[in-house]
Symmetry: C2
DNA sequence: CTAGGAGTTGGAGCGCACTCCAGGTCAAGT
DNA sequence: ACTTGACCTGGAGTGCGCTCCAACTCCTAG
């Protein structure tokens, strides 16, 4: 009960904090499950996560940044397939920057349209709610004789 | 080629237009597939679509209104299960109005949060695109010697 | 009478994004 | 030496929202 938490077995000497995190840490920090992290790697969204001497994943800070970006894309409705396309472009190096811009700009436009559409539907929803509320409180005036 | 389109076999005498439409019409007007329309009925989202004498579905104008509303709920991310809950409340009659308000208000809040979240991610996306664009056009000033 | 087209049903199949499982390795603690 | 727990792999399974299929019934036109 009083024992300390196990240190990462391959903590770098002089490492500040969070260098090469094990998968459980990354899962906790990103909110993704360990399974999903492995799945994303298999799916080609993440490449070449470092490994410890015994073959366990060790995520670098840059991996976390990349994951955070992937989460953004996911939260805005991008499919795994499109995220993989972006990841591939990234791997291709600087020459792919124009393509990356295009992919992101297209996605941005999609998101903008999506927001606009949601906003429209939201207004209609509010009208519907108002309608129902007027049904509940019929005549707020003709109440006393 | 000169023959007229077949009239609905059970068109009401004196029907103005669009009374009791066959499924293909409704599919076309709503953008849903015929299969999806039948699926929604099975799933309890639509109840008691009228039938012709030979057992074919005949949608009324009120069914179209209801479908339009369902499409709104769907477009804002509501699950089939929740839409069914709403449909059940509707069937229960006026006593369910408070529950319906609550369901819709909860959903409205979800949608509002979703929009806000999308908006935040959109801003970050735009920043990312800007970043990439600055990579492409390095120094717009130190160009001539 | 026959053929075609639109509709019906129950149920199987699909794509997506995970999620779970069995069986195994490894390192540390007692 | 043994147990424990975190991790590994390949592959199967899940839930959602459709989508497709086969076999059938009707109605109308030629």
């Amino acid at each position: 009960m009083t024992s300390m938490r196990a240190r990462p077995p391959d903590a770098e000497p002089g490492g500040v904090t969070s260098r090469s995190l094990p998968i459980a840490e990354v899962a906790q920090r990103t909110g993704l499950s360990k399974d999903t992290l492995r799945y994303y790697e298999k799916a080609g969204l993440i490449e070449a996560v470092g490994r410890s001497s015994s073959g366990q994943r060790r995520y670098a800070a840059s991996d976390l940044d990349w994951l955070a970006f992937l989460l953004r894309l996911r939260a805005t409705g991008m499919s795994i397939a499109d995220m993989r396309r972006f990841a591939e472009l990234r791997r291709a190096g600087d020459v792919s920057v124009p393509d990356r811009i295009e992919l992101l700009a297209t996605h941005r436009d999609d998101v903008q349209r999506h927001i606009a559409s949601l906003q429209g539907h939201l207004d209609a929803l509010e009208a519907k709610i108002d309608h129902y509320q007027r049904l509940l409180a019929p005549q707020p005036e003709t109440d006393q004789p």
